[in-house]
Amino acid sequence: MTDPLIEARGVTLAFGETPALRGADVTVGAGEILAVMGPSGSGKSTLLHCLAGILTPDSGEILYEGRRIDRLGEADRSALRRDSFGFVFQFGQLVPELTAEENVALPLLLGGTRRAAALAEARPWFARLGLDGLERRRSGELSGGQAQRVALARGLVSRPRVLFADEPTGALDSLTGEQVMELMVGAAREQGTTVVLVTHEPRVAAYAHREAIVRDGRVTSLSVDRIAS
């Protein structure tokens, strides 16, 4: 693996009485695409949110470029997320009041890019994702799969250092899911984006370099030693 870019060490986190993470360790290399798999409720989304500085662990450490981000204040963490991270969330990600192209441009607008320039950056993504003609629709007027592709464009538009994606192909059929993965992997390779991808679909995980499996709030990394012929 290349230099570690993100690391979780002994991370625990409970929601009230429910322990979601119980000592999770994981390392993501720079430029690596890591698939996070595991049963429903095992802590995958929670781990992703911790790695991305959205949730703060109860104990343990989160490092980004060797720096403890779990110790940063909310303002610094939100600046880090805005400047370096892109997100595709598992549920309901689009802002309903905005058009599709405004949704895609949102990270740029929030980062201070002027409206015309931000929209100009956003538009080419529609053709790339097979969304031609849907630029002016509001999210309520998109199908689930279309909305998910808009969300992916939004995650990639600012060319983030790290893309955090939680079930980005969940609502897509095989062909569209493939298209989304090709795009994500293509962007990752071209731009050197590091990707942390939560998925329960083996065919989606197979686009990653490596997989980590979350079970009961802990991470198992599997590797192949020997295969009988």
Partner: protein, 179 residues
């Protein structure tokens, strides 16, 4: 992994149904279409063709100038066409052979009180590794390669879903198989 699904004599009949061909043309076409993982040895091509000729499924033309059996042109017969068409329309037994081995290993491991979970993890890792290779192949290869890779990917994915489900139920299965 496609080897066992592929019937060499019937595939050669299919190629001959397209047009009469020499043995070396059949081998070339077979290898480029179906034999990616495992090219067909010349010996097997000619042995298969002689068996088909003996059974009246093909007839060999006159030997053309040059030496060896590869100078003969083979033509499919009416009986050959019928056999090929019957085979073509017949569904393949929907029994994933690999899963039988997985199943046997899991049941035996649990029966003998060994670590079935560890085996399933190792199998899972091997499956994912193969799926990554096939994914790379379908991303970089020609359309026919991609088509084959896809088939492999869907099958392996089915195994993986079974592996995950079984991993989640090991305790219950152990109860069921222990005396």
């Amino acid at each position: 992994m496609y080897g066992q699904l592929m019937s060499v004599p019937l595939t050669l009949l299919g190629l001959l149904e397209r047009e009469p061909s020499h043995g070396y043309d059949l081998k070339r076409d077979y290898d480029s279409l179906f034999g990616r993982d495992k090219p067909l040895p010349y010996g097997q091509v000619y042995a298969t063709l002689s068996r088909l000729a003996r059974d009246g499924k093909v007839v060999a033309g006159e030997a053309e100038p040059g030496d060896g059996p590869e100078r003969k042109r083979y033509v499919i017969t009416e009986a050959g066409v019928t056999e090929f068409e019957t085979w073509l329309a017949q569904p393949v037994a929907p029994e994933p052979t690999l899963q039988t081995v997985l199943f046997t290993k899991v049941v035996l491991a649990l029966m003998l009180g060994r670590d079935a979970g560890q085996y399933l993890d190792a199998q899972r890792a091997a499956h994912m590794q193969r799926m990554r290779e096939l994914t790379e192949l379908r991303r970089t290869g020609a359309l026919l390669d991609a088509l084959l890779a896809d088939h492999g990917l869907f099958r392996l994915e089915a195994d993986l879903r079974w592996i995950d489900l079984t991993t989640a139920r090991l305790d219950a299965i152990a109860e069921a198989v222990r005396p």
